[in-house]
Symmetry: D2
Subunit: 345 residues, 4 copies
């Protein structure tokens, strides 16, 4: 008899799936039972991932439909959108922690508009909890499906939700500029993601229409009590991991007051840290860890402030938050398996 | 008798000075007569710079005060602020192309407020032309002093001046997010600029108070006909060169109209290129060259647009623009010595 | 009537082809008449390359077989091996500068053994001159086909040929370790070349069997007067461009003597520079330029020395050398179009 | 009463000291009691290190001489050479794990020749155990001082010691080429280590005279039973962490036999992994972890083989090995606190 929960990871050939496995490997109450990656079924993690070379004994990759889910306690879905909901909707036993976009949006019509197709399993939307852990603690323990937020929404919402909920900032004219490392683009074969196409340069993308916008607006609107629309421009920067969001907000209050609001919101949080006044968040503060750092600065323009947050897009922005949600869903200490200190340099 | 203009470069031990020399080396009407770098006087460029290893015969570095300026046609000042004006104000013969901040601001009081000390030579401010070439063609030929703009102002002003002048965008609520490579920080010994401190991470800096703000606001206010204050947040990204500015603006017009305004402004420009609709500017489009790429995108929020520009901070943002100004000051074709195509990958 | 030679570039969608175009753009005696890239025919260079965004008026890409070669003076072949010889063998008018491996090896059997297939046009091998410019000046002016060496052979042979020819080092026990930037791997879609797979790490590849070995051994054997076999281990490093070879050689002489031999060999060379004693070659000394830096150091082990050379793999290692050969083939000054100073930082 | 060993880390303001703290933070039997960094005494780790921003409650940095060593069980010395021995020789109570070079060499005269000064505490040399853990298990449990090897020696010796001890390779003509990330150069303020001086380029350094050579030769000579001298050329590559050594060796045996020897040597090792035949070691396989990957390849030259090993220079090459040695010295499971999986991408 084991005291470990048996998990399956679907999409173990992608960066989020791999980081899920990395974290699960040292989680004391997780046993990795099945790893699925349809296109690479039959290979091992050591064969498809350089950093699992020291771990040749992980389960061999299989096709998802060959897994006996009756033996599984929790399924982590790291599949592309649509494919995720299609597959996960067929799984009835285990609890689901989905890292795709498929269960984040409450409204199936919004999903269809942004993701280019009807939602494969709209009936399940009601069962899903938007898994921004710090704001979902009440709902997660009983959740059948935890829908882990996108990496950008994680950082933006952690930075802004307490401020919006406290009516400390306006829900209008929120402007977000985001920077992300390249792992956020996934491991798919695209010329634009080849090393020489990326290194030593930056560029914006998804300008005005990035898919993370509806979920950010969904959550902000919820707290604001009305429709919120934000300006959001992501940029790709030549680094593997890391994400930084710079939010220009309108406020009657000064930066100090906004810092107090965030301090109150996060003072007991194990992973969310308000930095000392004047210290700029940097992605190197949290690399490889589930930590979040944020701060508020006065803007030169009166009536505005600048709220900045930094995370690791693969950890708190994805797989670390998934483990964090798993912990709550299974009644474990929330920080279990997520104690890694950030890696620097 | 030579048909080359004799130049001196002050501050040849900094990145902008070095790039000035790089460009001057292949300029057909420039002869590099003197290179000054007080702390490294007596050494050669090949000794202090890796990329001048193939050029062991450049003039040996000297102290600035040992130069016989009567023999010089043009002095390029690549010194730190204050030191620049102090020294340049003693030079009466040659024409001056200054890359420091010292002659950019018209108002000596503003200079004092932002640069932490009284202006060393306020009497010269009136002689200086703000050297944003595309907007200074009338004044440069007769200018005694060309004050080359800062790297961030170059990109921001090229992106916004035509739009402000045409009243196509509001002069209010301009929000700029900027990204820059590390050469922008200079070659000074700071722990924060060591490779391991920078690589594989990003962070914002100078939040709300970057020194480039007053000159951007000076020029925008001039075209707007009233005081303009902008929000400006720069970020350091792990690359050597490159700069990208993302400007969120308020407008009654669509992105297409703003593109037309920029097209009109720049259609005959050799260095400023409006990209095809939908193509995102990227710093890799202009690396090592004097080119500028820009574009306008619709924002998701009604009444807004996103104007983006990319340059090489050391070339069009600094030394390339200096050469461009020099060409106009000396009646040479504006593109002379600046024909290098961008380097990629 | 034009005084420019009309060129066609085949394989303009690869990194070497693109760098060929970059250099040709500012060559005063070259007119780019045709650019071929079969898979991308119909697109423009500005569409497929970020750095040609400022050059929207280059010839539209076409299929190679649609070019009227009667109108072409010189064809630059930047195609993969085998494809190169197949196509180039059908072109009878223009002179050919081939950047592929197809015409480098004198022996068709060696080619077959290393490149996995019979040589498509063995009859042409005799017409080809091995285009290591500094050693091919006599043959190039009349050459029908210049076979530009591989990037690694360029650096290794420049470092060692004078020493072998002067019998200053042993032809036995030559051990080479090489480092290369990622552009050397080409622009093909391979998971291993995605940014996150490369950045922040190094690894060796082609261990003991890299395809550049036969041509290095061919040329070394020629000068040694007997068969030479070398040890060669390349490594991929996380940078776009650059190549450094570290050669451990056996010698009765000291490092100083070997430096003298190299000094004699290269003293009048415009592109090959022996660094001052004790100065380590670095790829940042030559980035983006056709320059080569090299040096010799004493090894701790008696009877050995360490010869090191650095180049830009796309320039002197490929397209710059191609232009250099073109210049000689067409009676132009050898440095024409190759005066760019290295780019740093 | 605590069941944690109380440690002091001297030199917590350097990269190895910081990584020691990172690992110690999650070690279940370590309590960090004192952190010393003389120049930064009075500051906190969160103030001097970005990645300790989430850990504001670590002990405040103090001067080493203010520590009451009677309260300390183990001292980790992460100081520069000479300074290390000077200070550590005054500490009599705790056991010492030294990461400097000061106690690695058995012969004080060799130390003086290579480190530029007489050894500050030669009497202690006999008490020191050369802490290459896999080869020091017998001696470590009783060791007063564990002298952790340099990063390069760690990788080279792990790759070669079993082969030399088994007389499977010649002790002559061992040629090593090494690649290292920039953290190996330390956090000191040197122009050469500024980001723009390093990024996008490589160069060799310490050619023929790197200080790690005597300890590599000491250990190889010990196993060979005679004096061994090796050729060793390190190179700096633009990455933060990682180290790869490529060793060309002479052997009568094939690569397969050498693989068998290494397999026998390391089959039960938790941290040293012989990769499957044909798989090249890569630093991305072990980033941020205490793992080591190695392999052997046939060389093209008969009678030779290529042995390659990759480590993280700060972990197995320094602080991870220090913790590994600590575990043995204090009777703890050897892998305790070192279970982190490598971080990728």
């Amino acid at each position: 008899m084991t005291d470990r929960y048996r998990i399956a990871v679907l999409g173990a050939s992608g960066y989020t799936g791999a980081d899920l496995v990395r974290l699960a490997l040292t989680h004391p109450r997780i046993e990795i039972v099945a790893l699925a990656a349809n296109a690479k079924a039959g290979q091992t993690m050591a064969q498809i991932w350089p950093h699992f070379a020291p771990y040749p004994n992980l389960p061999v990759l299989v096709k998802a439909d060959s897994i006996d889910f009756a033996q599984i306690d929790a399924v982590f879905g790291c599949l592309p959108h649509a494919a995720s909901a299609e597959l996960l909707s067929t799984i009835t036993g285990p609890r689901i922690i989905d890292l795709s976009a498929d269960f984040r949006l409450k409204d199936a019509a919004t999903y269809a508009a942004w993701y280019g197709g009807a939602h494969p399993a709209p009936a399940l939307l009601a069962q899903a909890v938007y898994g921004l852990t710090e704001f979902a603690r009440d709902a997660l323990p009983a959740a059948r499906i935890a829908a882990c937020p996108g990496c950008y929404p994680t950082a933006v919402l952690l930075a802004l939700l307490p401020l919006v909920a406290a009516h400390a900032i306006s829900a209008d004219n929120i402007t977000v500029n985001a920077l992300s490392g390249v792992s956020g683009a996934g491991r798919s074969l695209k010329e634009a993601n080849l090393f020489p196409e990326v290194a030593e340069a930056v560029h914006p993308y998804g300008i005005g229409h990035h898919r993370h916008m509806p979920e950010m607006e969904q959550e902000l609107s919820l707290r604001a009590g009305r429709d919120v629309r934000i300006s959001f421009t992501p940029h790709l920067v030549p680094m593997n991991r890391g994400e930084l969001v710079t939010c220009i907000v309108e406020t009657q209050h000064g930066a100090d007051y906004l810092r107090e609001v965030l301090a109150d919101a996060y003072t007991r949080e194990p992973f969310v840290h308000l930095l000392p006044a004047g210290v700029a968040p940097a992605t190197r503060m949290v690399r490889g860890s589930n930590h979040v750092v944020l701060n508020v600065f006065a803007d030169r323009v009166p009536g505005r402030a600048i709220v900045i947050a930094a995370i690791d897009n693969l950890v708190k922005g994805s797989s670390g938050q998934a483990i964090q949600n798993f912990n709550l869903m299974f009644g474990l200490p929330e920080t279990m398996g997520l104690e890694q200190a950030p890696l620097f340099p």
